[in-house]
């Protein structure tokens, strides 16, 4: 399915975003070209400041590009946002502490004006999806960091978007929890057939999850390489990380990062 026919879900052409800092302009994104197709799992990887989060925020209309063109499902990012076409998962769970787990997941549905019975049904579905049935009435502080992040994924899924944008969702978690959640995420992706854009700075995570890996480099933020992961089966288990194909892709990602001077000083 990656590189499938049909219009891309996200298409960026010559996308640039320049912040006017006090002394000199900062090129957060420079001439970015990218097409994301239906069912893709795209990872954006690169060192801090390479614009991977900025690119995700531009797709989500949380930032406006200075130049270039971008479409999300054939419309502007703003139209897509107003139509609530994507779900966004932040680096931190960003749960509202005064709401229970269930009411956090129902928050977007309340704003959309979904009737109460349906809200509850959809929240229950999504909590089951992330394996948190039975935690509906807990408050966020009663959950571990990994569970909180799963709630925030359930909350993004509650909107039933075709496009899921994730900004280093597991960055703050320990490796064991992260492996576990990666496995859950890849199964969820295969089961639902959603298009995912995933920001990370972990090579292993990117290779494990993705159908394509976008390697980015800072100053100016740009795309260095786009790596297809067709060599890996679509069904991922933790074992594939031991395979030579996995190692080969990981090597290519590392080479790409090196080329972008990511390992300098």
């Amino acid at each position: 399915m990656p590189g499938d026919a049909g219009p891309p879900i996200v298409e960026a052409r010559g996308l640039s975003l320049v912040y006017q800092a006090a002394d000199k302009p900062v090129f957060a994104l420079s001439e970015v070209d990218l097409a994301i197709h239906k069912g893709d799992f795209i990872s954006l990887i690169g060192p801090s400041g390479c614009g991977k989060t900025t690119l995700l925020r531009v797709i989500a209309d949380l930032e406006r590009p200075t130049s270039g063109a971008i479409t999300v499902e054939g419309m502007t990012p703003e139209q897509a946002r107003l139509k609530r076409l994507y779900g966004y998962v932040f680096q931190a769970p960003a749960l509202y502490p005064w709401r229970t787990v269930e009411r956090n997941v129902m928050l977007p549905l309340e704003i959309m004006g979904v009737p109460k019975a349906e809200r509850q049904a959809r929240a229950a579905d999504q909590l089951a999806n992330v394996g948190l049935t039975g935690f509906e009435k807990k408050f966020p502080w009663q959950l571990s960091g990994g569970m909180q992040q799963r709630v925030s994924i359930a909350r993004a899924l509650a909107l039933q978007p075709d496009l899921l944008l994730m900004d280093e969702p597991f960055g703050a978690l320990d490796e064991i929890t992260r492996d576990h959640l990666n496995l859950q995420l890849t199964q969820l992706w295969r089961r639902t057939g959603k298009t995912c854009v995933f920001v990370t700075h972990s090579i292993a995570e990117a290779v494990f999850l993705s159908t394509r890996i976008v390697v980015m480099s800072p100053r100016p933020g740009r795309i260095l390489d786009i790596i297809d992961c067709d060599a890996l089966p679509r069904e991922r288990t933790l074992d594939i990380r031991e395979s030579p194909e996995f190692a080969a892709i990981a090597h290519r990602v590392r080479e790409g990062l090196k080329e972008g001077h990511s390992y300098d000083d």
Partner: protein, 342 residues
């Protein structure tokens, strides 16, 4: 603590012996304002610790204050007492003098036991609807204070929302809000009553307006901070839902501000009681703790003044305890704020 300082003027009121239970609900070593801390499992064996850490310090301070009070009563009342004893014509000694300073009808400084007895007689000797019962007066004052507090909350939150949402209001409005609080309430209270009386408003409303005038300020200051307390990520989240301004306000900014609102409310309610009492003074009101203070001072009934003062302070304590109770019920479950919540 604020209640004591506001409600009872320069002389701190110690908790009267039997009323002490009510006051000690408010432990002096209070750490932190926002979160409730219902730490489970602090029972039984911990009781000794609680006694030591909470009850003992209060008891020691109470005893010191009581001792100073009785000494003060002897010192302040002895000239009159000596005069009275001399007029009676019988020979008297130091012990007679001291005994007399504690039992005078119109002492300069009544003793705590006189105040407690007067308070007790007033509360138990008459029906709660009788003007001779202090509960009746406390009720009248509380009605004005709570009405004023409600008005103050509405005004305070509205101003805070204006300041948070409209940048220019912060610069144009804030100086006036601060200036409004520099005017002594004693100076402006009669004006408010006269002006409102002129347009036909008397009774509860002018008093409530005075309370509102005092109350809204802590609410505004607290809520400006509270409405800005929403995490940027929480706001971004609302944006990804393309939530409107109203939804963001109601579902994010208001709940995020509640801890700040409650902190402000506790300050405001105590001020509000003071405002209601001040409002009762110039109006020549017939009912209310202020009226009680005024009539006490007309007739030199110092014991009556003091028991009204104690009643005012008890009223504030009860109102603060109620707000604290609501706070624990509402904000209590959210104690993971900051650390675990994100």
């Amino acid at each position: 603590m604020t209640i004591e300082a506001h409600a009872s003027g320069p002389h701190p009121n110690p908790p009267p012996p039997d009323g002490g239970g009510g006051l000690s609900n408010l432990p002096p070593p209070k750490v932190g304002e926002g979160g409730a801390q219902p730490k489970a499992g602090r029972k039984g064996a911990q009781l000794g610790n609680v006694l030591k850490q909470r009850v003992l310090p209060v008891a020691v301070v109470t005893i010191i204050i009581l001792a100073a009070w009785y000494a003060g009563a002897i010192w302040l009342n002895s000239p009159q007492a000596a005069e009275a004893l001399t007029r009676a014509g019988k020979p008297w000694g130091t012990m007679d003098l001291i005994a007399h300073t504690f039992t005078m009808k119109r002492p300069v400084l009544p003793t705590p036991d006189q105040i407690v007895v007067d308070l007790w007689n007033s509360l138990t000797g008459y029906a709660p609807t009788s003007p001779r019962n202090l509960l009746f007066h406390a009720g009248v004052t509380a009605q004005a204070a709570l009405t004023g507090l409600a008005m103050g909350v509405v005004l305070g939150v509205a101003l805070a929302a204006g300041i948070v949402y409209v940048r220019t209001l912060e610069y144009s409005l804030l100086p006036w809000i601060i200036a409004s609080q520099t005017i002594p309430i004693l100076a402006i209270a009669p004006m408010i009553i006269v002006i409102l009386g002129n347009i036909g408003l008397t009774g509860l409303l002018p008093k409530a307006v005075i309370c509102m005038y005092l109350c809204f300020f802590p609410i505004t200051v607290g809520m400006v901070k509270g409405l800005r307390a929403a995490d940027p990520l929480w706001l971004d989240l609302m944006r990804t839902y393309s939530a409107g301004g109203l939804a963001t306000f109601l579902k994010l900014r208001i709940p995020a501000s509640l801890p700040f609102l409650f902190a402000s409310l506790k300050v405001s309610v105590a001020i509000s009681v003071v405002g209601a009492i001040v409002g009762e003074l110039p109006a020549g009101a017939q009912a209310g703790l202020g009226a009680r203070l005024l009539s006490g001072s007309y007739y030199g009934q110092t014991v009556q003044i003091w028991s009204a003062l104690v009643m005012a302070s008890l009223l504030s304590v009860v109102l603060i305890a109620v707000i604290r109770g609501v706070e624990v019920a509402v904000v209590g479950p959210i104690i993971g704020r900051g650390s675990a919540a994100r």
